[in-house]
């Protein structure tokens, strides 16, 4: 055993030496990536083509758990140890580390035209020109329903303009008629709650742009969610089981037809196509309404270039290639992601799926983009939005299990947001 160990050590030492050698011969770019589905595979294929076209550049895809993107990457970036590119979701929060690609890409105008509204999400406050990356996927939150259950129960699906109350009511009837344990489930995520809260009239910001999480609109939504958990409309396992801001989804329950309506978002489509497939009709429906709007939340992940890079020119070349209409169109088509590219959104992407439910869901969510409330867009672009989402979900969760009253929860939410923003402002 010791012999093999020595050999392994020797071999790997040789391996390191080799790698160092080859790194000198050509430029190596490191891209930190995470996967929800097959997007890593697709990206690898596209990068292979890129490497063929640019023999002097190699791109290494370092796939990490999402946890590393959220927790380790910020520390690595702060220490100056980051990669050349990364796929991130805290778009505004990390903006100080992004590289402005403008000097390194061939056609900044193409970027402005096609990624315009999303570029803003990835800029530091006060900067209105930087081009730092593009959306690997645009997401829109919204509910899926088990249409088959509706048919079995003989209940009419609420149509265009139906409110959240209508949906809760209809779902409860279906659950009652079909013996399904839970009418409704929502992802445990502040981001998911934000859309409906804005529909109820939540403003999220004061008039001069300061964050103001708790207002009458938000309280209306929070009260409903609280009540739905108490009367059994929603399962307590999601919101009531974990602590803090941890995410939990109801994929299993929805796939097993244990819930009628599942509030989640467009990123679930490839997974549902795989796990549910033809078992029942999973149907994306437009965002239900409140008194103020009928909106979901936009969101998504972006591939950004990072300041730490020593090869900005090559990063620019790579970004030019990846952001081109042809390449992106292949990427979105194969991953079943909603395009974050205006040209493609307009012309449509020919998604590689035969599943009529997936096609319907993709078109439903893509069609929802124009109707998203401007408040939701502002919130998505706000640097500290995750502070607000996290405060919202963690305190609401504690209220739902009864550790706090709703009033106490509101107070705690505001304190949490104020404290964290104050801490960040100490940086000056």
């Amino acid at each position: 055993m010791t012999k093999t160990l020595t050999r392994t050590l020797a071999v790997s030492a040789a391996g390191f030496a080799l790698m160092a050698g080859s790194a000198m011969a050509q430029t190596e770019l490191r891209m930190t990536w995470y996967n929800d589905g097959n997007e890593g595979e697709v990206m690898r294929d596209l990068l292979d083509t890129f490497e063929e076209q640019n023999p002097d550049i190699t791109v290494v895809l370092d796939t990490v758990p999402y946890k590393a993107i959220l927790e380790s990457l910020p520390v690595q970036l702060a220490a100056g140890e980051g990669p050349d590119l990364a796929r991130v979701t805290d778009l505004g929060g990390l903006a100080q580390y992004y590289l402005d690609l403008t000097p390194y890409i061939s056609d900044p105008e193409y970027w402005e035209n096609n990624f315009g509204p999303f570029l803003e999400w990835k800029r530091e406050p006060g900067n209105d020109s930087a081009i730092t990356g593009f959306m690997t996927q645009l997401t829109v939150t919204g509910p899926y329903v088990n249409k088959t259950l509706f048919e079995q129960a003989g209940v009419e699906m609420p149509g265009e303009g139906a409110t959240w109350d209508d949906w809760a009511e209809a779902s409860s009837q279906v659950a009652e008629a079909t013996g399904v344990p839970y009418p409704m489930a929502w992802d445990r995520s502040g981001h998911r709650v934000a859309g409906p809260a804005i529909s109820m009239g939540a403003q999220m910001f004061t008039e001069d742009g300061e964050p103001a999480l708790v207002d009458e609109g938000l309280k209306m939504m929070a009260q409903k969610l609280h009540d739905w958990h108490q009367d059994g409309t929603m399962p307590k396992e999601l919101w009531g089981s974990v602590s803090g801001n941890q995410y939990l989804g109801a994929n299993e329950d929805f796939a097993n037809a244990n819930v009628v309506l599942y509030m989640s978002g467009s990123w679930q489509i490839p997974q549902f196509a795989e796990t549910i497939g033809d078992a029942f009709d999973w149907w994306a429906v437009p965002a239900p309404c409140g008194p103020a709007a009928c909106t979901g939340m936009p969101g998504g992940a972006a591939l950004v270039a990072l300041k730490d890079t020593e090869h900005p020119e090559e990063v620019g070349t790579l970004m030019d290639y990846l952001s081109s209409e042809e390449v992106l169109s292949e990427f979105y088509a194969r991953t079943l992601f909603i395009p974050g590219h205006l040209g493609l959104a307009e012309s449509g992407v020919d998604f590689e799926t035969d599943d009529p439910r997936a096609k319907h869901a993709l078109s439903t969510f893509a069609a929802a983009v124009p109707s998203i409330s401007p408040i939701a867009f502002d919130l998505q672009g706000y640097v500290n939005n995750r502070v607000m989402f996290n405060a919202l979900i963690s305190r609401l969760g504690e209220a739902i299990v009864g550790e706090l009253t709703l009033e106490e929860a509101y107070e705690r939410m505001e304190q949490d947001v104020a404290q964290q923003i104050a801490e960040r402002e100490r940086d000056g």
């Binding site: 490191r30 995470y34 890593g40 758990p65 590393a68 520390v75 097993n256 796990t275 033809d278």
Partner: protein, 361 residues
């Protein structure tokens, strides 16, 4: 692990041990029954969850989400039906008159499904989806294993994990035993201060000094090398404490006698004290191997290049933001378990009897 059963009875043998647990040895006593019930229950409790993990790892993504869960991995039977290009899924359909027939499904529309009799492809009927049950057979989802092993660099990760575990354990054992020897055998100025540091940090988990330690590691330029994972955890206060407590029990006469024989201090350490401390060292070795092999949080922050990833980072890469690809996570967990289990199966006799034969004091 089958050879464990053949463990020869120890030299002191049956009689002595028979008396140890209580009044035993003459017929069945209630404590014997209790013993075997306890053992049977214990073995089930220890192994069944792991067996369940292994069984689950062979299920498809859809199979994992089922309730009630099936014991074995199952897949729906597909049949070739004349007139259809693709094989069709087979169902068992219960008709209103109570007859049950096997039918293949052509398509499902809403709550009705259109079925065909595989024997008689001309006959097509509409069946309510409540009246059909999928027919399933035992099927192993090998793709849970093969797909990740193709796409991710399993051998590199395994290699890294082995290097990290082996190197870190050897360094830990060496420097901890040296320090423990120094602290146990000698009276010297500053010893109490050092002991205070060791004891004081016994309970500090690395989780709470993650970021400061990362800063030190960056300043030393070790980020993205395996050293960053190997070195920082080596000076474990637990190890020093454990070994020192054990070495304190070694008779001083032995050491004095060796000094009389002109042995150097280093010789005393490695020729006398170390062999006598072997049981405690074995305990520390197990600790160290388990800890390094399973370490996750720390490698995750100091390693962000795939050529230096350890197995734990690699297999957790299937946990996305919004979707955990459980079928891959499970399969890779089992893969990561295999080396540890194999090593344990070979070494367990040495480890467990090693500790037992000399006795931990």
């Amino acid at each position: 692990m089958a050879d464990i059963a053949a463990t020869p009875s120890r030299t002191i043998g049956g009689l002595a041990t028979a008396r140890r647990g209580g009044p035993n040895g003459r017929g069945w006593h209630w404590t014997d029954i209790f013993t075997y019930v306890y053992l049977a229950f214990g073995v089930a409790l220890m192994f069944l969850p792991v067996v369940w993990l292994v069984l689950s790892s062979f299920k498809t993504q859809a199979g994992l989400q089922e309730f009630p869960p099936t014991l074995l991995p199952l897949g729906q039977v597909q049949v070739e039906v004349q007139g259809f290009d693709e094989p069709l899924p087979l169902f068992e359909v219960t008709f209103e008159d109570g007859t049950v027939r096997q039918m293949a499904q052509i398509r499902r529309i809403g709550i009705m499904s259109q079925m065909v009799d595989p024997e008689n492809p001309e006959e097509r009927i509409q069946v309510s989806i409540d009246d059909r049950e999928p027919i399933r057979e035992f099927r192993v989802a090998w793709e849970n294993y093969t797909k990740p092993l193709e796409t991710f660099n399993f051998l590199t990760y395994l290699n890294n994990s082995v290097i990290v575990t082996a190197a870190a354990t050897l360094i830990t054992l060496l420097i901890n035993s040296m320090a423990a020897y120094g602290l146990a055998i000698y009276e010297f100025r500053g010893r109490n201060a050092v002991m205070l540091f060791v004891i004081g940090t016994l309970m500090i988990p690395i989780t709470i000094i993650l970021v400061p330690t990362y800063l030190v590691v960056t300043q030393l330029g070790m980020v993205n090398t395996l050293w960053a994972v190997i070195i920082p955890g080596c000076a474990t206060p637990t190890g020093v404490f454990l070994l020192r407590q054990y070495m304190l029990t070694i008779p001083r006469d032995l050491i004095e006698a060796a000094r009389m024989d002109k042995a150097s201090e280093w010789q005393i350490y490695w020729r006398i004290v170390l062999p006598l401390s072997l049981p405690a060292i074995a305990v520390l070795a197990i600790f160290s191997v388990m800890w390094r092999w399973n370490d996750f949080l720390w490698p995750l922050i100091v390693l962000n290049r795939s050529e230096v990833y350890t197995l734990q980072i690699g297999l957790n890469a299937f946990q996305g933001e919004l979707n955990v690809q459980w079928h891959f996570v499970l399969a890779m967990t089992v893969v990561a378990l295999i080396p540890v289990t194999v090593v344990f199966a070979f070494l367990q006799r040495f480890i467990t009897t090693g500790i037992a034969s000399s006795g931990m004091k």
